[in-house]
Chain length 245, copies 2
Amino acid sequence: MLRTATHPNWDVEFFLPQEGYLAELVEAFSAETRSQFLQMSQIRTVRARTVLAVDGQEAAEIGFVLSGILAMSKHLPDGRVSIAGLLLPNDMYGRISSGPSQHQVEALSETHVLSFKRSLFQSLLLKEPDATQLLLAHVLDELEAAREWTLLLNGSRVVQRVASFLVLLVRRSGGHLASLPEPVQAGLSREDLASYLGTRPESLSRAFHELADKKIIRILDPSEFEILDLQALLDVSGQDLITSE
Amino acid sequence: MLRTATHPNWDVEFFLPQEGYLAELVEAFSAETRSQFLQMSQIRTVRARTVLAVDGQEAAEIGFVLSGILAMSKHLPDGRVSIAGLLLPNDMYGRISSGPSQHQVEALSETHVLSFKRSLFQSLLLKEPDATQLLLAHVLDELEAAREWTLLLNGSRVVQRVASFLVLLVRRSGGHLASLPEPVQAGLSREDLASYLGTRPESLSRAFHELADKKIIRILDPSEFEILDLQALLDVSGQDLITSE
DNA sequence: CGCGTCATTGACCGCAGTCAAAATAAGTGG
DNA sequence: CCACTTATTTTGACTGCGGTCAATGACGCG
């Protein structure tokens, strides 16, 4: 029952998010373009470990993450896999311009994606300047996020990176930093998280328990946590809290 | 004589690069837009350590690097400075959309920049869909590069990162990977390089001399190197050589 | 109940951060 | 051109974090 399923076209509109960046993008389309877009795109349910794009191969498909988590990973010569970035809902995967994919795109959890042919999207963008503007803004945000992440990896200690990751989770789950008591879920396995944070599962374990010992978090289950002291978490992460409202 | 100098407008066209991404972008403009762009933009010579954008403050100016190196740095709570990314010729600095700058943009060497008001650039993009497409493609490349860098930082050993940095230098200086005997210059100080690679000058020194001992490079001067064995360098860096042509 | 998977804990060790000092380079003024 | 200062690079000794290997424990599933 977890098979990759393709929904009929009329489902696409139904499953499209009501708000957020993707919704804005589709709204920026003209009526004609929008119906064409809805017809040509499809919503798929991919199960964890599905590979959507292979490193070095040209992929004709691009798409948006609706739910779940994708990873952009790279297989190193020594057999290791390291994760260069995560793709969260609203993020785009695949290359707009032609050329081989630079990463392997793989689902880390069961994921819903909105996908379509690259050629279609290219022609849509040419016809829709407003949508291009929106997309540009979003890509710039992604670039910002990627650089942010670079900073975190510079911070040498593993606890620091783990704390940063937890802050990231809080930021995008609750949104409001004030409301603590709701637990946050990682959404990816310990091993995947380790690749993403540039460390190994053993060190992750130690880091999580170090935070737990300090009463900063409570470990509900290996990938679900309750934040007890957000300020302390921010201190450990080394980030300044820009209390945006 | 190193003072920040503003050239008269007619100089801008003279100093514009003949080829590369920026040239393409300007060519994509309509004749009218292009003359407006040339009138409103200016070429400046900024000396090392000049700060072009302050972290957290709104900057009304954006621009392109023509020569030299800029850094996007962040001042950490503990007083350290870590460099999230380098801006090389053709790269853009500053935010297109409004909002405070997320990083401090600072010149690491004497640099020539082509700068203009953000509002001007925004309005130009609205009028020039083709240019927007080009810009989008370029930003996607930058995103790719940022993720590439994330991977390098994941690689734990310092020698590995240093090797990767040298490969980067070879890639964009010579271009052709075959021609070795020309030395490559770092273009930034040892301390800056250390922040960028997420390490300290002492470790850098050890790494460079480790490579020299293995006859992989020859140190001409602390920021100038001759590549003796490119294949070995690639091996150390952990990258696959995609011998593009 | 037995097996496989994953998280945890422990022991060990190598890499790199830290502090400190020596060596080299670069600048300054006479 | 040389004596002197200052900055940068290099080298050394020490320590700690975290990667590695291995063993134990917890959990889910057949």
